[in-house]
Amino acid sequence: MSEIDRESVRAEVRAWLEANWDPTLSLIAWRNRLIDSGWGAPSWPKAWHGRDLPAAVESVVAEEMRRIGAVSVARSGVRGLATATLLAHGSDLQKAKFLRRALSGEDNWCQLFSEPGSGSDLAGALSRADLKDDRWIVNGQKVWTTSAHHADWGLLLARTDFDAPKHEGLSYFILDMHQAGVEVRPLKQMNGHASFNQVFFTDAVVPPEHLVGRLGEGWAVATTTLMHERRGADGLAAAGGKAAERQGPIHDEERAENAIAMEPYRWYPQRAGRVDLILERAKATGKIADPVVRQEIAKLLTLAKSAEWTARRARAAQAQGRAPGPEGSLGKLAASHVARSAAHVHTLITGADAMLAGEDAPMDGLITEILLSVPAGSIAGGTDEIQRNIIAERVLRMPKEPRSDNDRPFRDVPRNQV
């Protein structure tokens, strides 16, 4: 998109905001005005609250919104994945029912993919949906569901045919979370937080019009969701905080919304290892003078800086419009190494005090939280082992391993005993 186009969009949205931004409105009233104008989701189709503009204008519109201090459409949580999936695969009825309320923030969403028996192997889902009296009856269990206790709707991947091969027997549904057949229980993690939930279905009901895409083609729909999840992973932590200093009831409403959405992610910086604290802590404990610790600090900083520069190379290649090289696929694996190495160095720097926790531990327990949160990074969002498979097969084009799970009816595929 040319510079001229960007600037004409900028002028247009600026004029609209100057005429329409009204901080005295309620959050929902303002967002509905914004959605009606098409500036809430400018890259969406005109038929669905957008303006059919290229994705590149999103940043221009966001800049103008920030400049004037206007509140944006709701972005936090899983609703972005829901809307992207529905825009790609949803029926008109589904789009009409869900898109606006996702943008306005009236509906919260959660993602019901992972199960106790299928983590890395998502397509092995056992939760089942059976058609009875023209309604889908859902039974089974999901896990690692962020914000399920705040969700109004769930994106559900469930098996509708056990006789079809693994990937062909799955279907994709929109599930109403407010019903008797759905039970949400928090899942306490080893670091003491409970950011995720287990969700149990006992004859939960889904009306037939809430099937997304065609019956048996749920894996393709889920792939769309997963693609957006990977793409958006970096933006997650940036959702909150923007409105921190602005005054007025509409900003209070937005802050409350963000606080709920961001609550599960409070420990995520610690999960990444907090490399930013290393030098300050080493100086404070005096370990900075220990030549062995210095070497370990230097190894960590070498790794962290190299990973940062690798990400910068990937972004620079993208900005040049070149096909992404291998540097673009390595970020998650590199981040795992950085986090683990940081936890190791924090332990060296902290010494015996690293045996302590809570207010007895350094930084009121923050170091403890780092040590107990880092193991999640190399598992969540695709384990290191799955990342290595992806790098080997998609980047290095190495042959796939022979598999024995997709050439027979799913009911004959070996599965977990639980």
């Binding site: 030098l279 900075i288 030549p291 210095r294 070497q295 600090i297 230097a298 190894k299 900083l301 070498t302 790794l303 800086k305 190299s306 990973a307 520069w309 690798t310 910068r312 190379r313 972004r315 620079a316 290649a317 900005a319 040049q320 070149r322 291998p326 540097e327 390595l330 694996l333 590199a334 190494h337 082992e385 990342q387 290595r388 498979n389 790098i391 080997a392 097969e393 980047v395 290095l396 190495m398 042959p399 796939k400 391993e401 022979p402």
Partner: protein, 377 residues
């Protein structure tokens, strides 16, 4: 900092890669590494006649091409990839850079044009048999003889191409001085009276090293007396950035060869590349080399921009590239299995270069310490 190469730089790399593939196949590398000189004038002339590589970062007013450390880094990465046998690192990276950093205008005008033309092979004699890469390790003395002349006494070692260089830039100190005080740089002709040169037997025969004994050798001073600490430190920093780029070129070539072999080799009825144990190893190797590459590019960019963090970044890149190169070399032999341990398999040539380059200019532990000091830690 520059994070993507320009189209011109990418084209430059492509030209170099084709040229080196043609002029430095492993058959040529194996032939030259068996000779005592380790390189031949004819190949060196071709390198300069066709591509002007010896003067790539020498400013145009001294007969060079006036490019930056980014282009120099590209040249070195490609040479490291091809394992080119040539006195390039000694001449262009070490000697020319030392002269650029330390010499007076008049000296630069005299010494650099023949280097840029490829007529003069030069090197830097810095390290001594103690193997130290800090300035305090220099023990060679320069005794004033009056009227601006000096006499050098002592011994230098690990001097790249020291037995074949026409011009040797030597670091020496005022008698009685120590540490960073009293250091000066001198130029000495390769055939100067009192200079004894001996080619060392080395682990990496594609890059020769020599021991030089100075017994009352008369030398010309370069730059200002007693003021070489700054220029020397900068030269070693820039050279570390350059060596990092050369190393990632070699590491990437090894990684590619390991992947090719894994795709080719069949055991248990399938290519070994289809085993997860192999895929995970290859993914780790890619990550390790890419991380080192990013650091090497960052160092070349920092050297170009005189970045205030250059010391730290160059040492970071040197340490990272050293670890990645040696590790990639070990994995590449392992992936080749028995054949990888044979003399005829080419992996060993890069393995030797990896070990040698990991130590030249200082080992990873030394550079990690320099990196922290560079950041004021």
């Amino acid at each position: 900092m520059q994070f993507a190469f320009t189209p011109e730089q990418s084209e430059f790399r492509a030209v170099l890669r084709r040229f080196l593939a043609e002029h430095s196949p492993t058959s040529a590398v194996r032939k030259l590494m068996e000779t005592e000189a380790g390189w031949d004038r004819e190949g060196w002339r071709a390198l300069n006649a066709q591509l002007g590589l010896t003067g790539v970062h020498i400013p145009e007013e001294y007969g060079g091409q006036g490019f930056s450390f980014v282009e120099l880094g590209i040249v070195l990465e490609e040479m490291g990839r091809a394992l080119l046998c040539a006195p390039y690192f000694a001449t262009t990276v070490l000697a020319a850079t030392a002269i650029l950093n330390a010499a007076t205008e008049a000296e630069k005008g005299e010494l650099l044009p023949p280097i840029a033309l490829g007529d003069t092979i030069a090197t830097l004699a810095f390290t001594e048999p103690n193997g130290r890469w800090d300035l305090g390790g220099i023990g060679m003395t320069a005794t004033p003889l009056g009227s601006g002349r000096f006499q050098l006494d002592g011994e230098k070692s690990f001097v790249l191409d020291g037995h074949t260089a026409d011009l040797i830039v030597v670091a020496a100190r005022r008698p009685g001085s120590e540490g960073e005080e009293g250091l000066s740089l001198f130029s000495v002709a390769g055939n100067a009276p009192g200079l004894t040169r001996r080619a060392l037997k080395v682990i990496d025969p594609t890059r020769k090293q020599a021991r030089l004994t100075f017994d009352g050798v008369e030398a010309r001073m370069l730059g200002e007396e007693g003021a070489a600490a700054g220029p020397l430190t900068l030269t070693l920093t820039q050279a570390a950035a350059c060596l990092a780029n050369e190393m990632v070129g070699g590491a990437e070539r090894l990684r590619e060869s390991a992947l090719d072999y894994a795709n080719l080799r069949v055991q248990f009825g399938r290519p070994i590349a289809s085993f997860q144990a192999m895929k995970h190893k290859q993914a780790d190797m890619l990550l390790e080399v890419q991380l080192a590459m990013s650091a090497a590019y960052a160092a070349a960019s920092a050297a170009t921009e005189d970045d205030p963090e250059l010391t730290a970044i160059a040492s970071l890149a040197k340490a990272g590239a050293s670890e990645a190169y040696v590790s990639t070399a070990k994995h590449t032999i392992q992936i080749h299995g028995g054949i990888g341990f044979t003399w005829d398999n080419d992996t060993q040539l890069w393995f030797r270069r990896a070990v040698s380059s990991g130590l030249f200019l200082g080992d990873p532990a030394w550079h990690r310490e320099l990196m922290l000091r560079g950041w004021g830690v």
